[in-house]
């Protein structure tokens, strides 16, 4: 085989090896391996990006790859100071131990080098203790290989930059996704807490628990801005940090060092406040030691605002890692804080409404009781009748599983159902014996009169209508309007049955009490005819269960 064929062989093989790599590091390793394999030099080095030639005797060059020399291989990636005469120059085989002294280590192993420049900006050095034997012109053989290598390095660098960019981009995306995901989970669980919340303190505790247990944050606490002289912030609930530990820390929303932290700043500004490094940020100076001890490396303070946009408190979230909160995560957690604010405000207004309603009911009840007392004072024989009807009607309504609010209305209507009797002459009400038709017609007017009395009072329930219709009957035989069936509201049908049962059971001026048995016989005997079937059944069950008038 002649030299030309041999050279072609080597060029072909090296070109294939170089062309097969897509990343700089393997490219340089493979190229060096091929060169060592073909030349019998035992060691090879690659330097790239040599600085501009300033004529200085030495060059600071970064060692990109090294094969065959254990010590030099340990220095890959480091900048070495080497003679310019070694790194710069044309293709050359040289026996120059002095130039190689800085690479030879303590035993001065290398005496010979083969220098192969790579496109003016880099160089490959092959090193040997003595010139390897060859008949081939090593300085010329590899020139075309080096030209190709320069281009391959460029392409591989582009590829490395591209893949590094992809990896970085992917890692960043993963991290962002992780953060957003934990914020979303926190937000979602926080909303569940809000939906179920019925009491403010419990809501605050549960929300702090969600932030730590679901969100995976280090700690969370809620504080309310106090309108005291110190403008202090009072911790209301916490999770991930003990109440005692939190209580020992001082927070304020005043314009002082304790108010410069994220908690105070969030209350003052109404905006979220982030401390990316709680160990070093000067705004967090009063709490640096506590942050380090508790492992809270970053802090996010979210204002809690009322319906007017005024901050009344703050939710503070601590994370174990620095720079834990990015923009999207803050946005989601702020949404959580806004939901919490809404929940707090809503609970407070709901509580206020309930308190108002209770006051109103109390007033109405007082008024109704007063009216009832007036009627009963005029009619001593029926004294207690309305109260007892109310008692039985309430028991029947409970038996029928009506809502508490509705039962309350039925009881009140029962209490005043005979208020219209105030328009009936007192002697007629307590007249012994039977009434003539005129008298009876006067008595029958009491339901309409009651309606007239109550119709302009704004009750939450149809009290006036129940009073008007409590003598209506299922078959239309009642008065004053001769309503029938479903035209008579259920609440009224309950009062009607209770009224009959109580009236028959109790003593009247014109007859003795007939007893419960007779009363039940009356309603069961007319079950479905005069009285509503399910009300009659419920009444019987109530009595059988031991009901007694009080």
């Amino acid at each position: 085989m002649n030299h030309e064929q041999q050279i072609l062989t080597i060029l072909y093989e090296m070109a294939m090896a170089i062309g097969g790599e897509v990343s700089v590091r393997p490219l340089l390793t493979k190229t060096l391996q091929q060169l060592l394999y073909h030349t019998s030099f035992p060691a090879g080095l690659v330097f790239l990006d040599l600085p501009r030639d300033t004529g200085a005797p030495t060059i600071e060059a970064r060692l990109e790859a090294a094969i065959g020399d254990f010590e030099l291989a340990e220095n890959v990636g480091r900048v070495l100071t080497l003679p310019a005469a070694l790194l710069r120059g044309t293709n050359e085989v040289s026996d120059n131990p002095d130039l190689l002294a800085s690479l030879s280590g303590k035993d001065n192993a290398y005496k010979t080098f083969l220098r192969l420049p790579i496109d003016q900006n880099g160089v490959i050095l092959l090193l040997a203790p003595k010139p390897p034997r060859t008949e081939l012109p090593l300085t010329r053989i590899f020139q075309p290989v080096m030209a190709n290598l320069a281009k391959a390095i460029l392409l591989c660098r582009h590829h490395d930059a591209y893949t590094t960019g992809l990896v970085t981009e992917r890692d960043v995306a993963w991290e962002n996704l992780r953060k957003v995901n934990r914020a979303l989970k926190t937000l979602s669980s926080g909303n569940e807490v809000l939906v179920r919340a019925s009491e403010e303190t419990a809501l605050l505790k549960q929300m702090c628990s969600v932030v730590v247990e679901v969100g995976g944050y280090r700690a969370a606490w809620v504080g309310y801005a106090q309108q005291d002289a110190q403008k202090s912030v009072r911790p209301m609930a916490q999770h991930g940090i003990g109440a005692d530990a939190l209580g020992k820390l001082r927070f304020s929303w005043a314009d002082d060092e304790y108010g410069m932290g994220p908690t105070g700043a969030a209350i003052r500004s109404g905006e979220p406040q982030v401390i990316a490094d709680a160990y070093t940020d000067p705004r967090f100076a009063p709490w640096h030691g506590d942050a380090i001890e508790m492992g809270c490396a970053s802090v996010l303070a979210l204002p809690l605002t009322d319906s007017d946009g005024q901050a009344f408190g703050v939710m503070t979230i601590d994370a174990a890692e620095r720079n834990a909160f990015d923009e999207e995560e803050i946005r989601l957690l702020l949404e959580l804080a806004n939901d919490l604010s809404y929940g707090i405000v809503n609970l407070r207004s709901r509580a206020e409404r309930l308190r108002s309603a209770e006051r109103l009911y109390k007033g109405l009840e007082d008024a109704i009781q007063a009216i009832a007392a007036t009627v009963e004072m005029r009619d001593p024989y029926t004294a207690g009748h309305q109260r007892r009807v109310a008692q039985l009607a309430e028991a029947i309504a409970i038996k029928l599983a009506l809502p508490p609010e509705r039962i309350h209305g039925i009881r009140l209507a029962g209490t005043v159902h005979d208020v219209g009797k105030i328009g009936v002459p007192a002697e007629m009400l307590s007249k012994p014996g039977t009434l003539n038709s005129l008298e009876f017609n006067l008595i029958k007017m009491h339901s309409s009169v009651g309606h007239e009395i109550l119709k302009d009072v704004e009750f939450p329930w149809p009290i006036a209508q129940m009073v008007r219709s409590h003598h209506e009957r299922q078959d239309g035989s009642g008065y004053p309007d001769g309503l029938r069936g479903d035209q008579i509201p259920l609440d009224t049908r309950i009062i009607a049955v209770a009224d009959v049962v109580e009236a028959m059971f109790s003593y009247r001026p014109y007859r003795p009490g007939l007893g419960m048995r007779a009363a039940l016989d009356e309603i069961t005997g007319n079950r479905g005819k005069l009285y509503d079937e399910q009300v009659v059944d419920a009444c019987c069950q109530v009595v059988e269960a031991g009901f007694e008038f009080k």
Binding site: Q5, I7, I10, Q33, Y37, S40, A66, A73
Partner: protein, 389 residues
């Protein structure tokens, strides 16, 4: 000067003789260890040798080769015992990986094992005995050189059966393994020299499809078809499926290097699809020459070996040497010519004793500090047991 006494060939493996030899050595060197070279026909003796060493508390390493070399001849019986005054670091690694992804991790582990033992001196040789059935030895050497570089010199040979049937062929005091490597750190030690003398002819063809030591295609055609044509055209030899095993060893492939050296790859197996298996890897797209083994330039080969030894550590005269002789080379030259080379080597070196084995591939460089390569058809020689080298 008393000649060293660290090599002993026992023509038969009798327990008594074995124990006597070990006892005699142990009395002289209580910290001794022993490397055992066994011919394939004596492989049943491994447990006995392990027991004998265990009884005396002597660390043992060993390998099974197709044959041994002793007294200028090849021996299929007996055993070579090579004494270490003090047992060097020795490790057995079975089942070396073939998948690229696993090779890195395996070599990292091996290098991590070796590095702690390389702190004290630079005169260290990594002596490796591979199972010849490991198909990617050249790749493993490349990777090892990336990790250990010039911290060690590289020397070794392949063990196993000449029939290339897989057999457990590497052992220590308690195990015998296959598909692996026995690694020893010899120190102080100056490495080995390696020589073959095959000449490259003019015509070159590309191995267009290879995988490790398997050549599927040459010049985009089934490898065996091209191999036949090359042999016919260059040497007028008609190679058929029937006579392939007879001729393959005489017409190995050569992978040419820029320093004029040729890496020999002997084809040893022919598949139904016309692909060929070689001893040693063939890189993808390597340009192959069909070599005709030398007519017998034994004098040149032996001369180069002797000069190499002198360069390593002065005159070999009166010294004990270790020699690995390639089984493929013996097949090509024939037993008589091969034994002539052994005798010539003994004459030229004037060594007091030469322990050796018939190997199935060799590891080393053709010059001192050469890039370590995996070869076929070579002789590898080194000093044994010298304290001053």
């Amino acid at each position: 000067m008393t000649p060293p006494n660290t090599l002993r060939y026992l023509p038969t493996i009798e327990e008594r003789l074995l124990d006597e030899q070990l006892a005699s050595w142990q009395a002289e060197k209580p910290e001794m260890g022993v490397l055992v070279l066994l011919p394939e026909a004596e492989r049943e003796a491994v447990p006995r040798i392990q027991q004998a060493c265990t009884r005396r508390g002597i660390p043992l390493a060993g390998a099974i080769f197709p044959a041994l070399t002793e007294g200028g001849a090849f021996r299929t019986q007996g055993v070579w015992l090579l004494r270490f005054d003090e047992m060097p670091y020795t490790a057995l690694y079975p089942d070396l990986p073939r998948e690229p992804g696993k090779i890195q991790a395996a070599l990292d582990a091996i290098a991590a094992d070796l590095k702690p033992h390389l702190r004290d001196t630079h005169d260290t040789t990594l002596f490796m005995l591979f199972d010849a059935m490991v198909p990617n030895i050249a790749t493993l050497l490349d990777e090892l050189y990336l990790r250990l570089a010039n911290r060690v010199r590289y020397m070794g040979a392949n063990a196993g059966s000449e029939s290339f049937k897989p057999i457990p062929c590497l052992f220590d005091g308690s195990r015998i393994i296959q598909n692996g490597v026995l690694a020893m750190l010899l120190k102080p030690h100056q490495g080995a020299v390696l020589e073959h003398g095959y000449l490259a002819p003019a015509q070159m063809l590309t191995a267009t499809s290879t995988e490790g030591n398997h050549i599927m295609q040459i010049d985009w055609r089934p490898a065996f078809e091209v191999y036949q044509e090359m042999a016919r055209a260059q040497y007028g030899v008609e190679i058929t499926r029937e006579n392939f095993y007879e001729y393959g060893v005489h017409f190995p492939f050569g992978i040419v290097r820029a320093n004029g050296m040729t890496l020999v790859r002997i084809p040893v197996a022919l598949e139904e699809d016309g692909s060929l298996f070689c001893v040693g890897e063939v890189p993808p797209n390597a340009l192959l020459a069909l070599l005709k083994a030398p007519a017998v330039d034994s004098a040149q080969t032996i001369g180069a070996l002797t000069e190499g030894l002198e360069e390593l550590g002065g005159s070999p005269a009166g010294q004990e040497l270790l020699l690995f002789y390639c089984a493929g080379r013996r097949l090509h030259l024939g037993i008589d010519a091969a034994q002539n080379e052994l005798q010539l080597f003994a004459q030229r070196t004037q060594a007091s004793r030469i322990a050796g084995a018939l190997s199935l591939g060799e590891i080393g460089g053709t010059t001192r500090w050469d890039y370590p390569l995996f070869h076929n058809a070579t002789l590898v020689a080194s000093y044994w047991g010298r304290k001053d080298t």
